[in-house]
């Protein structure tokens, strides 16, 4: 049905536009591409072109699962055109994994159909609504990890991305919300939070990713505070797949270990 609503516009073929933003590993003073995060944009010229508006709208319509599927389809279509087999980090609502019983099967088939190895995928868990029965979510994560998929907890430190989610989901990556990065060079509270989360990630056998690195001083600061995966406008802006390739942004790509049997 097409009732002309914003939701129907979003679900129309070709409506969603994936951009890719590199996440770099800066250990040992070098900068190597670790992964590309997919940042989804809605139809150009609409209110939902803005990602914040897009996903807030989707959550208010309670349509996270349908839009998450559409986002994965668009992201994997674009990923298939990228050279070098980089890791791809894609956002998904935790509620989608918990409530959409067919989502894991959909994801596996969508990736395999496009020739994208599942061990290249990192799922970035978003959650905005607390829910009490996490068992279906954990079941889905276990199944996905069996295919070699890694798990990131997004927006760590704000909203529902809290200690409970860390304990329950055992993420491979803690993505520190950009809130902590803004003005961090002059704010000892933000510095303390970043350093603390970096240590916590390391203690849990995970890696911290600093989002929103927009200045050279930010980059120096997070490196000093123990974060070695970074993402932000200082290093690279989000770009469509074709432009990413044309500009040669990809460079050397880290090898991805084979999944453990």
């Amino acid at each position: 049905m097409n009732d002309g609503s914003v939701l129907e516009q979003l679900l129309a073929p070709g409506a969603l536009h994936p951009l890719f933003q590199p996440i770099f590993d800066i250990r040992n003073g070098r900068s190597t591409l670790h992964a590309l995060e997919v940042l989804m944009r809605g139809p150009q010229g609409t209110n939902v072109e803005h990602a914040g508006v897009l996903f807030e709208y989707v959550r208010r319509r309670h349509e996270e699962a349908r839009i998450d599927r559409a986002c994965f389809t668009a992201a994997l279509d674009a990923t298939a055109s990228l050279p070098g087999q980089p890791r791809i980090s894609i956002n998904v609502h935790a509620s989608t994994l918990a409530k959409d019983k067919g989502f894991v099967g959909f994801l596996v088939e969508a990736a395999e159909t496009r020739g994208v190895r599942l061990s290249r995928l990192i799922l970035e868990l978003l959650e905005h609504t607390p829910f009490w029965d996490v068992r279906p979510l954990l079941d889905a994560l276990r199944e996905l990890r069996g295919f070699g998929v890694e798990v990131a907890l997004d927006d760590v430190g704000v909203g529902q991305s809290n200690y409970r989610m860390m304990v329950e989901c055992r993420p491979d990556y803690f993505k520190l919300d950009r809130y902590f990065m803004v003005g961090a060079a002059q704010d000892r509270y933000r510095q303390a939070v970043i350093a603390s989360l970096a240590r916590l990630a390391s203690t849990c056998g995970a890696r911290a990713v600093a989002e929103g690195v927009e200045l050279e001083s930010d980059l120096r600061l997070v490196a000093e505070l123990g974060v070695d995966l970074v993402q932000g406008y200082f290093l690279a802006t989000p770009l469509p797949a074709a432009e990413l390739v044309a500009r040669g942004v990809l460079g050397p790509v880290e090898a991805i270990p084979s999944p453990q049997p």
């Binding site: 609503s5 914003v6 209110n47 508006v53 319509r61």
Partner: protein, 127 residues
């Protein structure tokens, strides 16, 4: 300071007319056709004033009252005007109970709506 306005109306020609009118007067204007779209914009941007139609689609109740509640709870610095062609005393009483800044009965010339918005934003009190 450039003020940002949000127009919420399900009729496209109304949105276009109001966007054009207020843009020419120096406002930054966003327009939404659905309640959830308006709330998503309000969650991401700060508005000086919201101008919302009371009924966004026939038979779906008074969405404008829901938007009013959202604005008063989440964006206390934002003024809100409800527009309606189908007012009833009960709805007006409810809108005032929820803290509407101004209730405008349609039709009203855009120039008059513009004057009321300007006064509301400038004084911080209903004109």
């Amino acid at each position: 300071m450039q003020h940002r306005l949000l127009i919420v109306d399900d009729e496209e020609h109304i949105r276009v007319a109001m966007r054009t009118f207020f843009s020419h007067r120096g406002y930054v204007v966003d327009a939404a056709s659905e309640r959830e779209e308006a709330e998503a914009l309000l969650a991401n941007f700060t508005y000086s004033c919201v101008i919302a139609d009371l009924r966004l689609s026939a038979g779906h109740g008074a969405d404008g009252l829901e938007i009013l509640g959202f604005v008063k709870e989440r964006c206390p610095g934002t003024r809100i005007i409800l527009l309606t062609a189908y007012s009833s005393p009960a709805v007006e009483v409810e809108a005032r109970r929820r803290g509407v800044d101004l209730f405008i009965h349609k039709p009203k010339p855009l120039s008059e709506v513009g004057r009321l918005v300007e006064a509301l934003i400038a004084d911080g009190a209903p004109p």
